[in-house]
Subunit: 159 residues, 2 copies
């Protein structure tokens, strides 16, 4: 077990490894600092959401992955993704975010590869997401297909 | 409480009402006869799935709605839908099925309206699904939008 890994595995549900940069760490621990997560989401311009509901969503996600940069004894959150699932067939990935200062280095790909590995390890074969137009190509490069066989993503919003 | 309703609320988690036909009942009870569900899915030509995994998926769905026809003291499954969710923001509806002999009577709409009501009652505002080409118009009539603002439904499958 590496130094970084040891640092990170404080909780039973926790899991981390030092990929792909020696100072970047991944964790599946759900004990995330919600203010730090809000700061990350602010940085990419997302609308603010009530932290109580964010906590509920994290607690009821099937898989949560946080990406941290470690600087000396401090770590700060630079990426996040979570997935809902029926634990059997389907998963849907939500809230994929990488801090703008850390984009363009392959970290989003590594975060997503990690998510796919977690879902595949749980024998989930249908991994889905809803991609904004500007990230469709990013997901395509990771192996995601838009509208396969004409299947359309559809949304219902309250009026 | 109606006669039908009384008949149906055997379990604590159960819930049902007699809509829109006096002999059609809806239930959110997860204690579904898996062989009956398999028979229903066979009737619409879906690929068979291991019942163990089907049970797991039902157990880990956020909402499950079954539709039954009542004939004298017997009821049989004529429709089904379930949704995964993070219990806070997003839900995704899966496995929507109405027996072919009962299609074209508005029962699919009623089943979906019921699902949307359940999700809205739980304060879920982003209700999503992935629609096969032949049912995109059906969902559109229910108020679902395909690719709103260019958001694409994307899928990753194991190689």
């Amino acid at each position: 077990m590496s130094f970084w890994k040891r640092l990170f595995t404080g909780s039973e549900s926790g899991d981390s490894e030092d990929l792909p940069y020696s100072n970047v760490l991944f964790s599946t621990d759900r004990e995330i600092d919600l203010y730090e997560l809000e700061e990350l989401c602010d940085a990419v311009g997302w609308s603010r959401r009530p932290l109580r509901k964010v906590k509920k969503a994290i607690d009821h996600s099937f898989c949560v992955i946080s990406m941290y940069e470690q600087k000396e004894q401090f770590k700060h959150l630079i990426g996040f993704a979570r997935a809902t699932s029926d634990h059997a067939f389907n998963a849907t990935i939500w809230d994929v975010v990488v801090h703008p200062e850390y984009q363009g280095r392959g970290l989003g790909k590594t975060l997503m590869d990690r998510m796919i590995s977690e879902l595949r390890a749980a024998d989930i074969s249908n991994i889905t997401l809803f991609a904004d137009p500007q990230v469709v190509d990013f997901y395509r490069r990771l192996g995601f297909m838009a509208d396969p066989e004409g299947i359309k993503g559809m949304f219902w919003y309250p009026e």
